[in-house]
């Protein structure tokens, strides 16, 4: 089976100008990759390049053995909750159903299998009892879980999450982490961007440290060192105490 992600000396950016360079990554099915780095480091750019929404300007990139844009049907994408209009008149179940739209087609009615998948996805994120609630009335953490459920309903082989823990309460964070562990145990590859280095260290098999380019990639122990973080974060890194702990501002 082909790798979930295979990036070799990739650069990506907008309008022909690279904003992220030197990305070398290989991710197997079932592995979890965390993208860390300061604001504007290129985490979202990398996620969008995996989706084929921005072009790869150099190097070689394949996603699930295909050129990025062609892999979209096999990818689940979870955006940041605050990028969405909370006032939009949809229920949680309708949001999750969006994950099935490509399967259903343009105008065929939804089928029992689709409704079952929506119910199962909501159950998986612990929100089955919120199915009929208006999306905007849910808490930030619950909205994030609904968006995760939407991605699950598409039954992806690769799951991408853009800052899934931003503004999320502890209960929702635990629920999301639990789902991600279950998914990868079942063979789904997971890529997430995060500011939270503790979560990255706890969850990821591979951590990729970015700031305009890839500074380091590998196991959390090898990548999240004081030296690497200082190098990648520059002025954002602060040394505290004798154990040379590095705190990183988001």
């Amino acid at each position: 089976m082909s790798a979930a992600l295979s990036y070799s000396a990739v650069s990506a950016g907008y309008h022909g100008t690279p904003v992220l360079t030197h990305v070398d990554l290989t991710l197997a099915g079932g592995q979890r990759l965390a993208l860390v780095g300061p604001n504007g480091a290129g985490k979202s750019t990398l996620i969008k390049s995996i989706l084929g929404l921005i072009p790869v300007l150099g190097g070689a990139a394949t996603v699930l053995g295909r050129p990025p844009a062609q892999a979209r049907p096999l990818i689940g994408y979870v955006p940041q909750t605050d990028s969405l209009d909370a006032d939009f008149p949809v229920t949680a179940a309708q949001v999750v159903m969006m994950g099935r739209y490509r399967r259903i087609g343009w105008w065929r009615p939804t089928r029992a299998a689709d409704r079952r998948a929506v119910r199962a996805a909501l159950e998986q994120v612990g929100l089955a009892d919120r199915a009929g609630k208006h999306f905007g009335t849910l808490s930030g953490g619950q909205r994030q879980r609904v968006l995760l459920a939407r991605a699950l309903a598409a039954e992806p082989r690769l799951l991408l999450l853009d800052e899934p823990f931003n503004g999320v309460d502890a209960v929702s964070q635990e629920a999301i982490l639990g789902v991600l562990r279950t998914l990868s145990a079942d063979g789904t590859a997971v890529v997430l961007s995060t500011h939270d280095l503790a979560v990255a260290a706890e969850l990821a098999d591979i951590v990729c440290l970015l700031n305009g380019r890839q500074w380091a990639a590998g196991s959390p122990e090898a990548v999240l060192t004081a030296e690497n973080l200082r190098a990648a974060y520059g002025g954002h890194a602060i040394e505290v105490g004798h154990d040379r702990t590095v705190l990183v501002e988001p």
Binding site: L84, M98, G99, W107, S139, Q142
Partner: protein, 290 residues
């Protein structure tokens, strides 16, 4: 007293408005959700020169074709400009709107019957709708509803989450063009009956009013259609009563739009009540935690 809707031209006017209600209810929901109010307004104005050219070339029968061509061209142009980022602010939309409208006024002012022609184009002639015009509106309504039915799911996804829809494999540009074309076709369908100005009300007010009552998309569309029907009946009746009983002229299309706005105003307190924060911000304490 004569029963107003037993008179053929009143019955045809009501039938025409009923057809428009059928399409404007659902389409207004998309205009509302995509926040296309100003773009819709721009579309109605950019159609104006097409209406005038059509009229100059082919008389009243030419209006339909002229409006159709202008609507399709402007729908494509607006979509392209938005995509290129040139229409990222309201000012550029306003430039397109006023420029096209001025061209229309300049064209129509060359005619000797300038004032009455302008009034017809801007406010329509709902009471002179012919059976063949009714048939045209019905055909166009069928096309619009079919286009909407095919694209609805994808457009809702794109409206709610553009990046998510693109990530799912939808082409956002084509979906935007799809919706702009639908709105443009509604303008074409409505232009002879209610004119280019008042059609904006049919595209914006129904969903905005329905949103005060419900937060479900399908219910909003159905309620929107119902509100237009109600306003059409009330407006035509008021217009008839004003001229027959009291002897003063109340333009029918204006009366319909005024009735629609009145319904909106009556529903406003309901909307405020719905969105009023409860002691827990509208959520149970449990939801705040989870």
């Amino acid at each position: 007293m004569i029963e107003p809707f037993a008179v053929p031209f009143m019955a045809r006017a009501l039938a025409e408005l009923a057809l428009l209600a059928l399409i404007c209810g659902p389409v207004s929901v998309f205009v509302f959700a995509r926040r296309l109010s100003f773009v819709s307004d721009a579309l109605t104005h950019t159609v104006f020169p097409g209406v005038v050219i059509g009229f100059l070339a082919g008389g009243v029968e030419g209006i339909f074709a002229g409006a159709l061509v202008a609507a399709v061209v402007t729908a494509v142009a607006l979509t392209l400009l938005t995509r290129a980022g040139a229409l990222s602010d309201d000012a550029s939309t306003a430039v397109v709107l006023t420029a096209m409208f001025s061209i229309g006024v300049a064209l129509v002012s060359r005619r000797s019957s300038y004032t009455s022609d302008l009034t017809t184009f801007l406010f329509g002639r709902i009471l002179t709708v012919t059976p063949s015009q009714l048939a045209e509106t019905a055909a166009l309504a069928a096309v619009i509803l079919t286009l909407l039915l095919i694209g609805a799911r994808a457009i809702i996804f794109r409206t709610f989450d553009p990046t998510g829809a693109a990530a799912a494999g939808y082409r956002v540009f084509w979906l935007d063009l799809w919706l702009n074309l639908i709105v443009a076709l509604v303008v074409v369908a409505a232009v002879r009956a209610v004119g280019t100005i008042l059609v904006v009300a049919l595209l914006i007010v129904p969903a905005a009013a329905a949103r005060m009552i419900t937060s479900r998309l399908v219910a909003m569309a159905a309620i929107g259609t119902g509100l237009i029907l109600l306003a059409s009946y009330a407006g035509l009746l008021a217009s008839w009563t004003a001229s027959v009983t009291y002897g003063f002229a109340l333009t029918s299309a204006s009366a319909v739009v005024l009735a629609l706005v009145l319904i909106y105003l009556l529903l406003l307190p309901l909307g405020a009540l719905r969105s009023a924060p409860s002691p827990t911000g509208g959520r149970s304490p449990h939801e705040l935690v989870g």
